[in-house]
């Protein structure tokens, strides 16, 4: 009997972990991503991007709920991407790269640890509205997947071509040995829409292509694909926030309790170095107390009008995080004199 229990233990543990994972995921917000889309000849309209399992991705009309577009690895969806075999949760972000008000780029992390990149073709029919593929493949046996949306920021250093930093962390709720990661990946074609052929030719970024960052002195090596930090048992459940070239992210250290709460720490990465910000004792993760809702995220609050404060206060849940306060002071750009002497 004892031997049977011992033999069954891994199976029971796995079943327990899966149940906990499902409960944990239920604690996280299932917020669709608002978009403005023009699919086919229809006029531009507000829509919602939603992740799921079948189909893996879909876009519905924000007003009527009518299905406008869907994508999946199996037949039945409006667009088929054969590699789309894992479901998507809330790891979705849409960008408007040409500032015309219509989103034209998606980054979507699936629950198998793969980050997808899509270019949206404004006005194309639903069967060819998106081109895309796996941009980075971090699939693993430890159960790490993407639950939190990516945090995308443009980098445009003088004299160099611009790129997107795509910051995203993994989570494996209920699996304490998953050794999650926080990745910062470089997309060197921030403003270029790839077609299907270019996506087919793309070789996904893998962990071996990335630099592993620790709390010590920054490595003096050229960064091409990006870098990552190992988080141990902590899960990344919410999007990071990038402020003035510094990525601040929160890690749920204790998993998610049945009451949907967790003990969080926050950490900061300087994108320029790259370097983890450490305190006087060399610790790079600062604990937030007390426990917060598992659905907590970074918020920015403008100061009340008429006050002397010149920064938007950053908080994670209700807890202030000074590392991501936003300096609101205006900066002079150009100047001209319009009167004639």
């Amino acid at each position: 009997m004892k031997l049977a229990l011992l033999l069954l233990m891994p199976v029971l543990m796995l079943a327990g972990a899966a149940a906990t994972a499902a409960e944990s995921i239920a604690c996280l917000p299932d917020t669709p991503v608002p978009l403005l889309v023009r699919i086919g000849t229809a006029p531009t309209r507000p829509a919602l991007l939603i992740g799921g399992s079948t189909p893996a991705l879909r876009v519905v009309d924000a007003a009527t709920g009518a299905l406008l577009w869907s994508a999946d690895g199996a037949d039945g969806a409006m667009q088929r991407f054969p590699a789309m075999t894992a479901p998507f949760a809330g790891s979705l972000i849409a960008l408007d790269t040409d500032n015309d008000g219509v989103q034209d780029r998606l980054y979507a992390g699936d629950m198998a640890g793969r980050l997808w990149r899509f270019d949206l073709h404004d006005g194309a029919p639903a069967t060819s509205w998106a081109s895309g593929a796996v941009f980075a493949d971090f699939s693993n046996d430890a159960g790490r997947g993407f639950l939190a949306p990516a945090d995308v920021s443009l980098m445009a250093p003088g004299g160099a071509a611009p790129w997107f930093n795509v910051a995203i962390g993994t989570a494996a709720p209920g699996r304490s040995g998953a050794n999650n990661r926080f990745y910062v990946l470089r997309d060197s074609a921030p403003f270029v829409a790839w077609d299907d052929a270019q996506y087919r030719a793309w070789q996904p970024v893998r962990e071996a292509d990335l630099l592993r960052i620790t709390a010590g002195t920054p490595a003096d090596v050229a960064i091409s694909a990006g870098w990552f930090v190992e988080l141990g048992s902590g899960d990344v459940l919410s999007a990071s926030l990038t402020v003035a070239g510094r990525v601040v992210f929160a890690v749920a250290e204790s998993g998610i309790t049945p009451g949907c709460r967790s003990a969080f720490t926050v950490a900061a990465l300087d994108l320029g170095s790259p370097r983890l910000t450490v305190d006087a004792t060399g610790n790079w993760r600062q604990p937030l107390s007390p426990e917060l809702a598992a659905s907590a995220s970074f918020t920015l609050t403008m100061p009340p009008a008429g006050t002397e404060a010149t920064s938007a206060r950053c908080a994670f849940g209700d807890t202030p995080v000074a590392a991501c306060d936003v300096d609101l002071r205006p900066h002079r750009t150009w100047w001209r004199r319009e009167d004639a002497e």
Binding site: I93, L154, T242, V243, M302, P303, V326, R332, W335, R337
Partner: protein, 140 residues
């Protein structure tokens, strides 16, 4: 019979007096225009400084504002009622992808500050300052 050169001195004196008078008039004229020019320059400088003050004031207002709304204001930073500054803050757009900041969470709002300083006797100086301010995307 008197020699024909008699009376030459008077003519010479009269000519010298005429030259001196012309020189004096020219000097006075130059002094007058110099004074006039200096006054105009002074008023122009006052107008320029007032316009500059208007831009500084608008930058301070903008740093403490909780929204990206524009405005037009009349300011009188000096006692003289003839002197003042008209400041207009114009929002001119926003960049959805400010470098170094989270896309979708923060935007770079662009403004123009049009500041016109007014001094005595209609002197004016108009300056335009371009400004960018990083703000949360959901700020009004």
């Amino acid at each position: 019979m008197r020699p024909r050169t008699e009376g030459f001195a008077l003519l010479a004196v009269l000519a010298m007096l005429a030259v001196i008078a012309l020189y004096t008039i020219a000097t006075l004229r130059e002094a007058f225009f110099g004074t006039l020019l200096a006054g105009t320059r002074l008023r122009q400088q006052s107008a320029f400084v007032l316009a500059d003050l208007g831009i500084d004031g608008a930058l301070q207002d903008l740093a403490a504002a909780d929204s990206a709304a524009g405005y037009t204001r009349e300011l009188h930073p000096v006692v003289d009622p003839q002197q003042g500054v008209t400041v207009e803050l114009r929002p001119v757009g926003a960049d959805a992808l400010p470098a170094g900041f989270s896309a979708g969470r923060l935007v770079a709002r662009r403004f123009e500050i049009h500041s016109t300083g007014h001094a005595a006797r209609g002197a004016r100086s108009a300056q335009v300052q371009g400004v960018v301010r990083i703000m949360p995307a959901d700020a009004p």
